[in-house]
């Protein structure tokens, strides 16, 4: 099991973190509608078959900007809105911890075509 910290994520996947199970597979992300705010550890279970990412992006009500390819979200352009991310991972269980403020968040996979192909969902932290 590998813990990867993304932006704003805590290096510590510590004991006080609240755990959130996220199930991903081609081409769905299944997560609870409400997740805890504060220090959260996402447990991503990739059921494949393809590799997948888990990127947590604060939803400020605007559409997520796309890169020039019109297929992937421009994460760099989002800046601090990205709360945390798991890089592309093969099928299996993966962890990532981050601190979530109260509010809405997009959970997406930003591999080429995956976001556009349906791998996105919105959760509410807090």
């Amino acid at each position: 099991m590998l813990a990867i910290s993304g932006c704003g994520s805590s290096a510590d996947s510590g004991h006080s973190n609240k755990e959130v199970e996220v199930w991903v597979k081609d081409f769905h992300i299944k997560a609870p509608k409400h997740v805890p705010a504060g220090d959260v550890t996402f447990e991503m279970y990739n059921r494949g078959p393809d590799h997948h990412e888990l990127i947590v992006i604060r939803d400020d009500g605007r559409r997520l900007p796309l890169r020039g390819d019109d297929l992937t979200v421009d994460e760099d352009g989002l800046g601090p809105a990205v709360a945390g991310a798991l890089e592309p991972e093969p099928p299996g269980e993966h962890l990532v911890s981050m601190r979530l403020k109260r509010g809405d968040y997009w959970l997406i996979c930003n591999m080429a075509g995956h976001y556009m192909g349906g791998m996105r969902t919105r959760v509410v932290a807090g």
Binding site: D70, P90, P91, G117
Partner: protein, 785 residues
């Protein structure tokens, strides 16, 4: 041997080595199989990776070609789509992935068993279907949203181009990940292979080390074993190269009492006997002969006899030398030498024995035949040696023989062969010698016996008779030569002993007679041809028969009646006198018992029996006489023994206590007479010392007493001597009345002779005794017959 026994390399060591070799081989085979398998799988993987990665490119190309055609350009998206579909099928189920023009050749790939890859391939195929379906709808101007999507993608975009691009990206993405997955698996396989190869390589290294260890250990054990065998073996092992001795086993060092290092190079050769050195040099240099006896000197300067087997291994690169396997056979050789010596040497005197002498004679005759040179042989027989042996024992006899051998050695010349043929018989072979030299040597031999032989506490006179035979050169036969020497020696004995005789052909005939007589005597004893005659002893004063002298007679079927003078000398020399004497004594005693029983004899009657010198000089004469008396049941007073003065004194001189034996008999009543008195020592001392009752004046005096005044004086002297010692004197050989009267006048108490009676059979004596009871008058001999 208790405990661990040695197992040679061929069994246990070989098992160990074989086990290690099998392990090593198994490791190697496993390594090859693993490498081959992994290489094959990697090759397969590479094709899979290539095809999977190509799907990404094809997906992107398909999108571009579709959009180009959609924009009015020219392209062939359908072919690209078909290629993608077939490749997707091949990635799942195995098979041939088609070629792409200007890019790849068609590739054959196997069905993939990895579940993750399989899932991705299946997903990839769904996406390819969705992509190509959407592409086809776009080009056909159909509503792309109507195209059913099979990969569970949820595309919200309605724009057909957008949808096509999204599906292209999804297809590209999953294909890339599938290729990455396959590559990852290959990496793992390669890493596995490397790990396993490292393990197998380590195992191979360990097996190699074990193998080397086992081989070295086995070789060491084997070397130690054979070194131990060679070292502890009593066999001597030597290896010779061009530089000389290269190896000498411990047993060589032990045998020679030297360090092995001393023997290396030319060291061993220096220990070899100079006479054997050339042969040893030849053997150690050239490997011949294959069997070699030689001698070596140990550090104590003793010569040891070795017997070596020579093996030429100069061509054997493991040895490159000549190997000597030798055994110390000194004991055997010495034993053989001793046996040879015993076979040809007289153990008592160290002189040649009969066998060697015979061989020397044979060789000398061969040489004589060739060179015509003469040769002579002397055969020497001691006189009276038997008495020495009989009276003083064999040790004294042996000492005498040793002493005489030394004296004869002093006489013989260099080149002569002196031998002891057995008993008291010596022989000498003189090559290139004529009669005069042979006689001179015989005389010197006799001279060497003049000095008595001294054995502890006693001086013993000894004589010898020598037969000389001459061979005048030319062919000859050893048996004949020896036989002639024997006859000459016998003639010397007959001739009076203490002399030599040279063989001449007549001797063979004369002595053949004597030898024949001896043989007949033996037969006569067996056949009981001996009889006893008796001659009366008369008291001339009363005419009474006071006794008889028993005399042996031989009634030979071929010779008739043989007189004692004719056979007694042969009986004496042959030793048969013992048996004849015993027979006469026995029969005389038995006859006397009969006369006593018949009452024809007076109580002082005596039957006189002669004892020869040889009988007298034999131990235990008293016991033998007593035994005969007891067996016959005769009172000893009726028996008288006649002994000659010479034999009595001779036996006494030899140390035999004759006097004691005669005294023992005399004490029991046996009378003793000295026969032939006057012819020998005539010693009053002897008469005084010995228990004598009577002397018999020899007939040589009494028969001439009428005509020879000296004999008459001697007879008178002997009679008076007897009377002086309280003895009686008997005159023998009285044949005339004149002799009778004269001897009576001269003092003889009793007479014996033909005037009264010849020796006669017992029956005649009986009759005479009966007549004499009535008539005590002398009769003439012719009346008696």
């Amino acid at each position: 041997m208790p405990g661990r026994s040695f197992e040679p390399f061929a069994t246990r060591g070989r098992r160990v080595v074989v086990a290690i070799l099998i392990t090593f081989a198994a490791v190697s085979v496993l390594s090859v199989v693993l490498s081959t398998s992994t290489t094959s799988r990697s090759k397969h993987r590479a094709a899979v990776i290539q095809v999977a990665a190509r799907q990404r490119t094809l997906a992107e190309r398909y999108v571009k070609e579709t959009l180009l055609v959609h924009a009015g350009g020219r392209a062939d998206p359908r072919t690209t789509g078909d290629t993608m579909l077939k490749s997707a099928d091949a990635l799942i189920d195995g098979g041939v992935a088609p070629s792409v023009e200007g890019d790849d050749d068609e590739m054959k790939i196997a069905r993939t068993t990895d579940p993750d890859f399989h899932a991705q391939a299946v997903q990839g195929r769904r996406l390819v279907h969705d992509l190509t379906g959407t592409g086809s709808a776009l080009l056909a101007d159909r509503d792309v949203t109507e195209v059913p999507l099979t990969a569970r993608e949820r595309i919200s975009a309605k724009d057909p181009v957008k949808r096509l691009q999204i599906l292209g990206a999804l297809t590209s993405n999953v294909s890339l990940n599938a290729a990455a997955n396959a590559a990852g698996t290959t990496d793992r396989n390669v890493n596995d292979l490397i790990r396993k190869q490292v393990i197998l390589g380590g195992a191979g290294l360990v097996a190699s080390l074990l193998l080397a260890w086992a081989l070295i250990a086995a070789t060491r054990r084997q070397t130690a074993h054979f070194r131990s065998l060679v070292s502890s073996s009593t066999d001597l092992v030597l290896v010779f190269g061009e530089e000389g001795c290269r190896y000498a086993s411990d047993s060589v060092a032990r045998t020679l009492g030297r360090e092995s290092a001393e023997l290396h190079g030319r060291g061993f050769e220096e220990c070899v006997h100079p006479d054997d050195r050339e042969a040893v040099r030849m053997a150690t240099g050239r490997g011949v002969p294959h069997r070699l006896p030689f001698r070596v000197q140990n550090r104590f300067d003793e010569w040891r006899h070795l017997e070596a087997h020579v093996t030429d291994l100069r061509d054997d690169r493991h040895v490159s030398g000549v190997v000597l396997n030798a055994r110390d056979v000194t004991e055997r050789v010495e034993l053989e030498e001793q046996l040879t010596k015993q076979a040809f040497e007289d153990s008592l005197t160290g002189l040649a024995n009969r066998a060697l002498f015979r061989d020397r004679v044979d060789q000398a005759l061969v040489r004589s035949e060739r060179s015509r040179a003469p040769l002579a042989m002397l055969l020497l027989d001691l006189d009276g040696f038997k008495q020495v042996n009989d009276t003083l024992g064999h040790d004294a006899g042996d000492r005498m023989l040793e002493e005489l051998a030394r004296r004869f050695e002093g006489v013989k010349r260099a080149g002569d062969t002196l031998a002891r043929l057995g008993g008291d018989e010596f022989a000498m072979l003189l090559e290139g010698t004529g009669e005069s030299q042979a006689i001179a040597l015989a005389e010197r031999l006799l001279e060497s016996l003049v000095e008595p032989v001294t054995i502890p506490g006693r001086e013993l006179p000894i004589g010898a008779s020598i037969g000389v035979v001459l061979h005048h050169g030319g062919p000859g036969v050893s048996e004949e030569l020896i036989r002639h020497a024997d006859l000459a020696m016998y003639a010397a004995k007959e001739g009076g002993r203490g002399r030599y005789m040279v063989f001449h052909p007549d001797m063979a005939r004369e002595l053949g007679e004597a030898v024949g007589l001896e043989r007949e005597l033996r037969e006569a004893l067996k056949e009981g041809e001996f009889g006893v005659h008796y001659q009366p002893e008369i008291n001339p004063a009363s005419g009474q028969i006071v006794g008889v002298e028993a005399l042996a007679r031989w009634h030979s079927p071929s010779r008739g009646l043989v007189m004692p003078d004719d056979f007694i000398p042969i009986a004496e020399s042959s030793g048969l006198i013992h048996e004849i004497g015993s027979e006469v004594l026995r029969r005389a005693c038995e006859q006397t018992v009969l006369w006593i029983r018949d009452g024809v004899v007076e109580p002082d009657f005596v039957t006189w029996v002669n004892l020869s010198g040889r009988q007298l000089s034999t131990h235990g004469i008293a016991k033998r006489v007593q035994k005969v008396l007891a067996e016959a049941g005769l009172d000893p007073h009726f028996l008288g023994l006649e002994v000659t003065e010479t034999s009595m004194v001779g036996a006494d001189m030899l140390g035999h206590n004759v006097r004691a034996e005669l005294e023992e008999l005399h004490d029991q009543g046996v009378r003793i007479a000295v026969d032939d008195f006057g012819t020998g020592f005539s010693s009053m001392e002897h008469l005084r010392r010995f228990p004598v009752d009577l002397i018999k004046v020899d007939r040589s005096f009494t028969q001439t007493v009428e005509h020879d005044t000296r004999d008459a004086a001697i007879t008178a002297h002997l009679a008076s001597l007897a009377h002086a010692l309280g003895l009686q004197a008997v005159a023998e050989g009285i044949e005339t009345h004149g002799q009778l009267e004269l001897v009576q006048e001269l003092g003889c108490d009793l007479v014996q002779g033909y005037l009264y009676a010849r020796p006669m059979a017992a029956g005649d004596i009986t009759r005479m005794l009966l007549e004499r009871e009535h008539e005590h008058q002398p009769q003439s001999s012719e009346l008696i017959g």
